[in-house]
């Protein structure tokens, strides 16, 4: 490997020897093509014409009345595919194409990354396999159907808890046996180097756009930038635009599930301990022996016991803070944005909205908060109905 892939002590590439040539190949290709004008030009035109960038920055006035300060939404929910995942899938898919790979695999939790990968597989004519936990297949069946319509094969993974962690395990195993012709299109800012670096880079367009839009529309930088954190790709995407602006408070919101003290949550940075999972040294939800915990969260996309290593570093350095909100708060926030703005947010993104609502009376009224509305909630209507039946 050319680079160490470290964020302070975190990150690295803790994978079985057999995978090293595969990640070395991806690192080398990425370092080469990120500077290649043809690659950059093709990606930029895909982001604009295919995916619909730039996404708007919207002042949610009626929602802001509830928080008591100004809330602006970075509308990644309007991106083609319905979530920020398309930014990374297009970037890595194009990288795979430039590398001459014909097959894509990916893991998915909520199905948004799987959907984005399936779209890109269709676009580039690549055979695509999506690994998805069996519990997630059941609770995100709309996305499963969409992936199949797009021509991808969806492989349910029943090992472990049947969620994102197990899907990653199985995708890694498949990749190990098929490294020669298969590109692993990793969905979050975690996993072994070079994935955290690559995913951050392809998602950093969110932060770049948001910063410029703030200056243009509001005339100043925001006071707070908030984003939900599972693996952490949408958060690192928007944070990256503001990391050097020390006046901007960066807040990552994790899933407290049924409560941080109940053990039924996925708040890795709040409750985890340092360890090694899926190739990276980072915070991990684990027991005293180092066995990985089962997680629980109303939103499948956050239901993961690890977190991207750069977030671990930002937490320790104090540059970003990480808080957690419970499922009930998340459902309240989902309903509120839906009713007040006519925008149905993904349950993942609703975590960030829930934290903003919790800050009513705590943040001054002149506060400007930007929240990464990372995805839309169409996929979640069944789950919301289950928790809050309309009768």
């Amino acid at each position: 490997m050319k680079l160490k892939g470290r964020y302070g002590q975190y990150g690295g590439f803790y994978v079985p020897e057999v995978l090293i040539p595969a990640i070395e190949e991806i690192e080398a290709a990425y370092l080469r093509f990120q500077k290649d004008p043809a690659f950059v030009g093709e990606l930029n035109s895909l982001l604009a014409d295919y995916a619909g960038r730039p996404t708007p920055l919207y002042h949610a006035r009626r929602f802001s009345e509830q928080t008591g300060f100004a809330v602006w939404l970075k509308r990644e929910d309007l991106l083609h595919g319905g979530a920020h995942k398309t930014n990374n899938a297009l970037g890595q898919g194009l990288l795979a194409k430039y590398m001459g790979k014909k097959k894509l695999i990916a893991e998915t939790g909520a199905g948004q990354h799987g959907l984005a990968t399936a779209m890109v597989g269709a676009l580039f004519g690549m055979e695509t396999k999506i690994f998805m936990g069996s519990i997630d297949v059941a609770r995100q069946n709309v996305n499963v159907h969409k992936m199949k319509l797009l021509g991808a094969e969806v492989i349910p993974v029943s090992g472990g808890t049947g969620t994102l962690k197990d899907a990653i395990n199985e995708a890694l195993r498949y990749w190990t046996a098929n490294v020669e012709d298969t590109f692993y299109l990793f969905g979050t800012a975690g996993g072994p180097h070079p994935f955290p670096m690559i995913v951050r880079q392809f998602q950093s367009v969110i932060g770049r756009e948001a910063r410029a839009q703030c200056l243009e529309r509001i005339g100043r930088l925001p006071d707070v930038v908030a984003a939900c954190v599972g693996g952490g790709s949408n958060a690192i995407g928007i944070f990256s635009g503001f990391l050097n602006d020390s006046s901007v408070r960066l807040v990552g919101i994790e899933g407290a599930g049924r409560g941080l003290e109940t053990g039924h949550h996925c708040a890795t940075l709040n409750k985890g301990a340092v360890g090694i999972l899926h190739g990276a040294q980072t915070y991990v939800l684990q027991d005293a022996d180092g066995q990985i915990h089962e997680t629980e969260c109303v939103s499948a996309g956050l239901d993961y016991p690890g977190v991207g290593p750069e977030h671990a570093y930002l937490k320790d350095s104090g540059r970003a803070e990480y808080v957690a909100v419970e499922d009930e708060q998340v459902l309240d926030a989902f309903e509120m944005l839906t009713r007040l703005e006519g925008i149905m947010p993904a349950l993942e993104s609703s975590h960030a909205l829930a934290w903003l609502l919790s800050q009513k009376g705590l943040l001054p009224s002149r506060t400007v908060a930007v929240v990464n509305l990372s995805g839309r909630g169409d996929k979640d209507v069944g789950i919301v109905e289950e928790h809050r039946p309309m009768g």
């Binding site: 079985p16 090293i20 472990g160 395990n169 195993r173 090694i276 899926h278 022996d289 180092g290 990985i292």
Partner: protein
């Protein structure tokens, strides 16, 4: 503790190295199974500590990990288990473990306790040669051998680095993939053994996908100094749940047959 050198120097055939997950299906049965394997003539043991997320393992060993975890196996108990095995018979024991378990225990403490239990070598499944410095000096400081994996897709410069950090034996992976039974032997293994043999005098042991006495004999004929058999044996435990006697009988039979196949190979050469 048993030394690899003594085994490899005294044998006039390839060493037979069965792999077991410690505590599969439960601590007591697991101990009896391991003793059975030793009584049947296993030369060296490769033992794994069960982990919740074993990414280098195929379905057979994943299931064994789950069985062992469900019946309460922990890293601390696993090291006690190693001590019981070495007290029964002082064979060399190689440990195969995922990094998070070692990290959480404390790397130095883990190595010290494993050494004290009579263990011989340590192999961390998800730690490549690039990070060998994190563990190898600590392992050597307490007198443990450090085993690393060599794979068919390793370029020569990398093989040299692996050899540089490896003591005991080189764990040679026969194929691209996870552990698990295969119908036929990988075509990639013979060229890899030959490449390694031109680069080092270290014993070369081959694992992953060795699924029959015939496979074992073939690998030995290809030049391997040892044959590591995991999933094929672990499968017997899974298929005979609740019937310890059958489990032990089938494992003893398989080991006896494989030893016979390896002896036949030595007569040919």
């Amino acid at each position: 503790m048993g030394r690899y050198q003594d085994v490899f120097e005294s044998l006039h055939r390839a060493a037979l190295i069965p792999f077991f997950v410690i505590g599969d299906p439960d601590r007591q049965t697991s101990l009896e199974i391991v003793k059975t394997a030793l009584d049947a003539g296993a030369d060296i043991l490769e033992l794994g500590i069960p982990f919740s997320d074993p990414v280098a393992d195929g379905p057979t060993i994943q299931k064994a990990d789950i069985r062992a975890l469900k019946t309460g196996m922990t890293p601390r108990k696993a090291l006690e288990f190693v001590a019981e095995v070495t007290a029964y018979k002082p064979v060399p024991i190689g440990l195969l473990v995922y990094y998070n378990l070692v990290y959480r225990y404390g790397i130095e403490a883990f190595f010290r306790d494993f050494k004290q239990a009579g263990g011989t070598s340590i192999l961390i499944a998800d730690l490549s040669i690039d990070d060998a410095e994190e563990v190898a000096p600590l392992a050597r400081a307490v007198g443990l051998e450090t085993v690393f994996m060599a794979t068919p897709n390793c370029p020569e410069a990398r093989l040299k680095k692996i050899i540089q950090y490896t003591t005991g034996f080189i764990y040679t992976v026969s194929l691209l993939g996870t552990t698990g039974q295969r119908d036929s032997l990988s075509q990639l293994v013979k060229p890899l053994i030959q490449r390694l043999k031109t680069l080092t005098d270290l014993p070369v042991c081959v694992g992953f996908g060795i699924s029959s006495p015939a496979h074992a004999r073939q690998v030995a004929q290809d030049g391997a100094d040892g044959v590591i058999i995991g999933s094929r044996i672990v499968k017997i435990i899974g298929e005979n749940a609740g019937d310890k006697d059958t489990m032990c009988r089938l494992i003893a039979e398989f080991i006896t047959q494989t030893l016979k196949a390896l002896q036949e190979d030595s007569r040919i050469s």
